[in-house]
Amino acid sequence: MTADTTYKVPTMAEMAANGEEPEVLFWVGCAGSFDDRYKKVTVAFVKILNQVGVKFAVLGTEESCTGDPARRAGNEFLFQMQAVGNIQVLNGYGVKKIVTACPHCFNTLKNEYPELGGQYEVIHHSQFLQQLIDAGKITLKGGGTFKGRRITFHDSCYLGRANKVYEAPREVLQTLDADLVEMKRCRTKGLCCGAGGAQYFKEPEPGRKDINVERTEEALATGADTIAVACPFCMTMMTDGVKNKDREDSVKVYDLAELVAQAYSL
């Protein structure tokens, strides 16, 4: 594909106006919409969706925070205001299937919205990418960009322990033909990046060390030059950790979607 290719990003409103229905709604999330670093992940994922010809749509400006950080901080009122509002929008469009690149949105939409009247099939983009690979819709050419490079995957709490998604992101990384190395604490024992439970939105309590530094040290100890993440908050925490260790020149933090897009030269 050439650089001047334009991509389609249809909204639910446009689709509804044309009497169309997408296969899947891409829930972008606040970080995916506003965080400069994670916007790149959103763009990479949209490019992949375009490339494989998935009929998708986004909510655009109709999307709103799922309420995850409010609920974890203890503000149940605010969470439910957000949730009920979002469910009205989603149900209004008759949404059935949602994919999101944020494990926090994923967990909330999947596990916490049903009790409030929002029943959807929700999958994380790592699972979605795995399905595309399994279906042969994404075929990555081996021996490409990643040949011989070491990648380590950081498990996100809300993907792993919370929802037992451990293998999908790893299977996606396996197809890159890179050398996938595990940190000492991985899968069920994966160490949090320090951002969950609304910690991202305040200073940490006094302690000896920041959690993201502890985790980054573990990632660096694998000798990987790429830390793969699947969460916008892990992305920031690990990137800051790498900077803290003055390794930003040699070690990069990428989301799964970016790695797949890179392998595809998108």
């Binding site: 203890g74 957000q82 916490e112 929802n163 006094p206 060390k209």
Partner: protein, 447 residues
């Protein structure tokens, strides 16, 4: 003499039974202080979890060596209790090895099995003491974990020493009994020829063989009494100790949380108000709002009964705390302390009831007097503690409810959380961006 011993034994048994019943009643009452929560669904799945996690010790096996050591004690506890049944019946009826004539050749085999297990338990207990005091496993050290102070440390040591003494008494009793049997002394001799020496205690016999018959009888009676009184005393002690997990692990795993770990308990009382506020049909505005009592939890009464059962089931192993990212990096939060504080609060209430009756109120509360805001604020809700617990305790559920109280009742959020809340409220995102810019990321794609 035998008659006198029988009376003494029945009295001891009754006393232990009385204390035990009273303690269990108090603990039951303490657990039922909690809010109701329905955990009667999916009985098949629950039974399955109990069989795998409690009976099968599945989560203990994530650390294979310690898991195996623990399994030896667990197996010993369950199987040696069959022998306790015989000992109790002997005590009541004034008999000696009541089961032996009925079981014939199987009897020595069974006792040999008990002896091998007893030796195993004894060795593992020594190993566990060594882990605490020689290898100094970090999660048990008070220097590293402030909740592992005097009593928790003493409690753990007492349990291990006690088990070593009980097993030693059991083996020594068998040894002295075997010698008396061989000598054909009194009623001991009745089993001579049918029951010989036992597989482990035969190595203790040479130490006792120098004793005369009366001395040997004294050893036999002392160890028999020490062993059974020790077990009865231990049963009562359990109810004050972290060792209560040997009983509560079973119901506690049966009533496990079946939801995905990431799913936080809903508050239906809030849903209704939110639906009314947003003008959503479904909520009946004429219906009086449910009296929620209190949003979140300030004290143990605001938690669910399952949270309180969790607290009594905790054996303070500290796997939760060792996996907690906040604790690992030096923050004050320790999931184990959350559970221990909850139990301490319940025990303090119990003591109060006994002093001044059921209206006891010391003006204290779990949040504030036992657990501080600094601790609960440090939680990343990563669920590592929930994942690690070998008996499916959920410290995160308590933390979450305490946070709700801090935020919704006391409005005591850290300043930057308040900013995040108002951003979500006004800008539909936790940051201060205009909601109309939410879709700008697509501009570069569409050109």
């Amino acid at each position: 003499m035998v008659f006198f011993e029988q009376i003494l034994f029945v009295l001891a048994l009754a006393a232990a039974g009385w204390f035990l019943t009273r303690r269990i009643g108090l603990i039951r009452r303490a657990i039922l202080l909690g809010r109701p929560e329905d955990r009667s669904d999916h009985p098949g799945e629950r039974l399955n979890i109990m069989l795998r996690v409690a009976f099968g010790q599945k989560k203990m096996m994530t650390k294979p060596l310690v898991g195996l050591m623990h399994f030896v004690i667990y197996l010993g506890f369950i199987i040696i209790n069959i022998e306790v049944l015989e000992i109790i019946l002997d005590g009541i009826f004034g008999t000696h090895r009541l089961f032996a004539p009925y079981l014939g050749g199987v009897y020595p085999f069974i006792i040999n099995t008990f002896e091998i297990l007893a030796l195993g338990v004894l060795l593992v207990c020594v190993g566990f003491l060594a882990r605490r005091y020689v290898a100094k496993v970090a999660r048990f050290q008070p220097e590293r974990h402030r909740e592992m102070g005097r009593w928790p440390r003493t409690d753990a040591t007492l349990i291990l020493v006690f088990e070593i003494l009980l097993m030693t008494a059991f083996l020594t009793w068998n040894a002295s009994d075997s010698l008396l049997r061989e000598r054909g002394f009194g009623h001991y001799g009745e089993l001579r020829g049918t029951v010989g020496s036992f597989v482990v205690s035969r190595f203790i016999e040479p130490l006792l063989s120098g004793l005369g018959d009366p001395g040997l009888v004294a050893v036999e009676r002392f160890t028999w009494w020490f062993h059974i009184l020790g077990i009865l005393g231990f049963a009562v002690y359990l109810t004050y100790s972290k060792h209560l997990h040997i009983g509560l692990a079973f119901p506690n795993t049966y009533y496990s949380d079946l939801r995905p770990k990431g799913q936080i308990k809903n508050m239906p009382e809030i849903t209704k108000e939110v639906q009314l506020a947003l003008g959503i049909p479904g909520a009946d505005p004429t219906e009086p709002p449910a009296e929620p009592g209190r949003f979140g939890a300030k004290d143990v009464r605001d938690l669910s009964w399952k949270n309180l059962m969790d607290a009594y089931s905790c054996t303070e192993c500290g796997r939760c705390t060792a996996a907690c990212p906040a604790n690992l990096t030096g923050k004050k939060l320790s999931p184990r302390k959350i559970m221990m504080d909850t139990r301490d609060r319940l025990e303090d209430l119990q003591r109060g009831w006994q002093k001044t009756g059921p209206d006891f109120d010391d003006g204290k509360s779990l949040l504030g007097d036992y657990i501080t805001a600094e601790e609960i604020n440090a939680c990343t809700t990563c669920q590592a503690c929930v994942q690690e617990c070998p008996v499916n305790i959920n410290p995160l559920d308590i933390i979450q409810q305490l946070r709700r109280y801090r935020i919704m009742e006391e409005a005591q959020a850290p300043g930057s959380w308040n900013a995040m809340f108002s951003n979500i409220e006004n800008n539909m995102a936790p940051w201060k961006f205009s909601p109309s810019d939410r879709f700008n990321w697509a501009d570069q794609l569409k050109q």
